[in-house]
Symmetry: C2
């Protein structure tokens, strides 16, 4: 990646803030401008070194930007992309960070925006939100999915690939639909299940909770507004994933009601094989600490 001029980040929370930290720490951009609706959050992102400048004025913030990254909650991404496209100087292009089909479809409705936009989803994050939990290495070794369409210029796909790779991501290209179907199973369903598990354990049992509870419910600590929007944006694929999950739970119930060790064991082993395949791909300790906030002295701020 050649050094970028101005990069504008709309939405400087966990993801947008991490993009800013990574750009600045790696010296990838001459100037990083943070754009947001909340002055206090912008000031925090600036204080933490995620952006060089901050503004609540989207048009002013994106003017002159070579790249715009939209890191808002998913239900505001499409509108932000379209607004950015209206103010962007020639040569600029736009990428984002969220669930894909609805966003890509909404942007495709808008002539100028669809030719400037490369849909992206860096698969990284945590149950924590806000720039305070951002980290420059959030994307390192993590997959970033690009979802170009027939309307996306090939040179922009190349630029988007180079951009996300420069932040440490392993980039792959998929259709928005394939992306959403996969994420429904790998991320959105696990979030819903974590919440249902958390809801099932009454407070008086919590002193007895150990590792299975702790890890199984971890993401239930995530922000409700963000996840409500994600669930809604991907509800069709998520309902499909939910049906498959319910089938597996129903099989478990039948085996347990039958008190049949062979059936229980066969059920368990087929699931265990799936998880073993993940460990084989990612390594047993893959990403172990990736969703945890960096210790303070691990954060190499550029100042």
């Amino acid at each position: 990646l050649e050094r970028l001029g101005t990069v504008a980040i709309i939405g400087v929370g966990l993801i947008g803030g991490s993009v800013g930290l990574a750009l600045r720490e790696r010296g990838l951009a001459r100037r990083v401008v943070g754009i947001g609706r909340d002055e206090a959050r912008l000031a925090q992102a600036h204080r933490l070194g995620a952006v060089d400048e901050a503004t609540t004025d989207l048009a002013r913030g994106v003017a002159g930007a070579e790249v715009v990254i939209v890191g808002t909650p998913v239900h505001r991404i499409a509108a932000a992309v379209i607004a950015a496209a209206g103010s962007l100087s020639d040569g600029g292009w736009i990428t984002d960070t969220g669930t894909k089909r609805e966003i890509v479809a909404a942007v495709a409705q808008q002539n100028r925006a669809r030719g400037l936009f490369v849909g992206a989803h860096p698969i990284a994050g945590s149950e924590r939100q806000g720039a305070a939990h951002a980290r420059a290495d959030l994307f390192e070794g993590q997959t970033c999915v690009l979802t170009p369409t027939a309307a996306t210029p090939a040179r922009l796909v190349d630029r988007a690939r180079a951009f996300w790779e420069a932040l440490g991501s392993r980039v792959r290209t998929m259709t928005p639909e394939a992306h959403d179907a996969a994420l429904a199973r790998t991320s959105h369903l696990p979030h819903a299940v974590a919440a249902a598990l958390a809801a099932t354990v009454p407070p008086e049992c919590l002193p007895l909770a150990a590792g299975a509870y702790r890890d199984g419910t971890r993401v239930a600590a995530a922000a409700g507004a963000l996840w409500t929007a994600i669930f809604q944006q991907n509800r069709h694929a998520l309902l499909d994933a939910l049906t498959t999950f319910e089938d597996h739970m129903a099989q478990f119930r039948r085996a347990l009601e039958a008190d049949d060790p062979d059936q229980l064991l066969a059920w368990w082993e087929s699931a265990r094989t799936r998880r073993a395949a993940y460990d084989a791909q990612h390594g047993p300790d893959a990403d172990r600490n990736h969703d945890q906030p960096a210790a303070k002295d691990d954060r190499k701020f550029p100042f």
Copy 2:
């Protein structure tokens, strides 16, 4: 705890092996004898420093023991307790490490055994099995539940409390039924759910799996035979917990089908509040690394 003479451990896997390591590292016993059915596993436990001696002869192994700890898979605990009671010298007593109601009921059928037994469940473990993953600090700061009955002599309850506290546990006393009802929700259901989640994600989606999948399915890597036995031993309480969980998932499905953000948000927030209560009790980083194998140089073997 006064220094113990001989301690016998029946079943030297992850839990039994960790008891042995902790006893030896803390100098709590003059001699630790490992008892098992498999010569190779006993030899491994000995090599790792979990026991001073090992034997496949239960009667010989427990003769002269001051304390016997039964750490076998749960479906073999009651038989091992009864067998140990038959060979134990005067003054000796027995504790265990597993799911409670069925075990306590089976031991209560046997005159000699029921007066020598204090049911215990140290709530600690991991998805890994075997003495190779044992660690001297496995019980440190973890809860250990004692489930004495009317037949349990009070002085034995005191000794069992002192024993498990000496290994670093926080001891609490419950009825076997209350223990099993709680563990169904905090541990057994989360294991079943992790497996169902793992089964729901097809192999081609695994490259896109990140933290929510990794943590949500971690315990699906556990051994099927151990978990089949635990599920069966606690099937009534687990079926209850399963019903509650299914109700929460059904609420989620209805909110998603209705595409109703208020309903989704309310559902999420009530779950998030539960998880927040856990974090408030345990600290947000409670037990973070407890289910992971110790780095080799963290293992302070006594030799």
